[in-house]
Symmetry: C2
Subunit: 302 residues, 2 copies
Amino acid sequence: MEADLYAPFRNDLLRAGLLVDEGVDGLYGRSSTYESVASAIVRLTTDTGSEDHATSYHFPPVVPRRLLVQTDYLKSFPDLTGSVHTFKGDDRLHAELLALVDSGADWSPVLQPADVVMRPAACHPLYPLCTGRLPEAGRRFEVHGWCFRHEPSLDPARMQAFRMHEFVYVGDPDGAVAHRDRWLERGTAMLEGLGLDVEVVVANDPFFGRVGKVLAANQLDEALKLEFVTPICSADFPTAITSVNCHRDHFGLTFDIRSADGEVAHSSCFAVGVDRTTLALLHTHGLDPERWPQAVRNRLWP
Amino acid sequence: MEADLYAPFRNDLLRAGLLVDEGVDGLYGRSSTYESVASAIVRLTTDTGSEDHATSYHFPPVVPRRLLVQTDYLKSFPDLTGSVHTFKGDDRLHAELLALVDSGADWSPVLQPADVVMRPAACHPLYPLCTGRLPEAGRRFEVHGWCFRHEPSLDPARMQAFRMHEFVYVGDPDGAVAHRDRWLERGTAMLEGLGLDVEVVVANDPFFGRVGKVLAANQLDEALKLEFVTPICSADFPTAITSVNCHRDHFGLTFDIRSADGEVAHSSCFAVGVDRTTLALLHTHGLDPERWPQAVRNRLWP
């Protein structure tokens, strides 16, 4: 069933050489044509947010291990996490490791956790930088780069490693809501300007397990996170390519961030799924960007 | 001793806001100024190799787990590897995981290996794509992106997560040597054009353990890999910022790659350390790229 739904577009992408199968579900190399679209989306997102005068940071694809606990990610999405382990032994343990490898056994028990884990969302490394008292206007950040979620799938839009581009606000509650609402407008204009048929829906994140069912129900009730969905592999099951999310005081409490008046800071963000938006464009306008509508090309490559 | 050597430049970079300390040795956020230099180096490297008419691929920061074994990386550099693990349990195991986290214990034994590991070198995912018979002229690739090596250090030039930009040849033995030698020339011209004081030395990779001592001695004897070194933190201990490496039939044998005449293929590569070259420029010309020599600026931002 899953394979049937995703196979046609996935095979189109592979045959056209836009994606290269690396032999693990959800892991692909990208061609230079694919990358030219992805880079253009990053540039367009930066331009769309230029009025924010945001501070731009680039973080690596791994983050400090403690962030996974502090952000509650390990509570809510344990099955999506990636914990990085390494070898810290001597010659003898190394011989054991290689013997396990040779016998085809699981060699991971010989390893020990490193100080880093895969970055689950682009904005996570920002919040520890904000600990303390914020200026009156709050702070605005732009951040983009590689994220990881362990969810092996045949859906080309559900990659294990993908790029996310975010504009983040940290400050007072009104500012956080205003940031989200402004980006709801800007995001709509940006995606519609690319000829994408988007609909805004309340997000429904895949919280883990029994407790997760309650968290998911709360998320729907409170409608703090909204997603822009568009058909990629199926008109019946459109894919979220971009989102706006009001975190309330979640990060403010965890990282002891205070707004100028001394209250616990609120935050919100706008997040573009760079790879998903690339795929949405390839689905909507065809596999050859040279033949896309001129208006779309002009926005991507002005 | 280590701290003394690296502290002055590291503190300069942090104070200037070019790097942001993430609280783990060798893990940094980068400012937009730093990134503008890194991006310029990537563009210049692409331009320098334009005559290669290479096929360009972009791979994620994680690669299939089996690559770590197939490339012998786990044999030679086990202590540098990053193996990605995730949670595959049910509600009950999740409760155990969270209890471990709450008690401050190591929660990693609850995890299981994922199908991916951190990418140790930019070119590794290329070789499985070459299995089979190559065309007469061999194949040329350009590849760049995030790599990971677990080597926590106070040396800002020894980052755990960093970018590498490579030009790779896969074909016959003569072609592999010619590729290396051509890039030895091009690399020298490119780095000297940036006003960097580079010296070419035989590489001395940190092979692991007792067996590693033999491998390291062989590497020195055979002089197959050469590095461009330049002072970053110390004139006495210059840093390798770029290298050329002849792999002989290492990848050809492992991935069953044959040149046009049916022999086991040879390969070689030119690899630019994007972050190390950025740091070398900041060390050589000062922390403000706006004030760098005009000739250097013209090459980076033509």
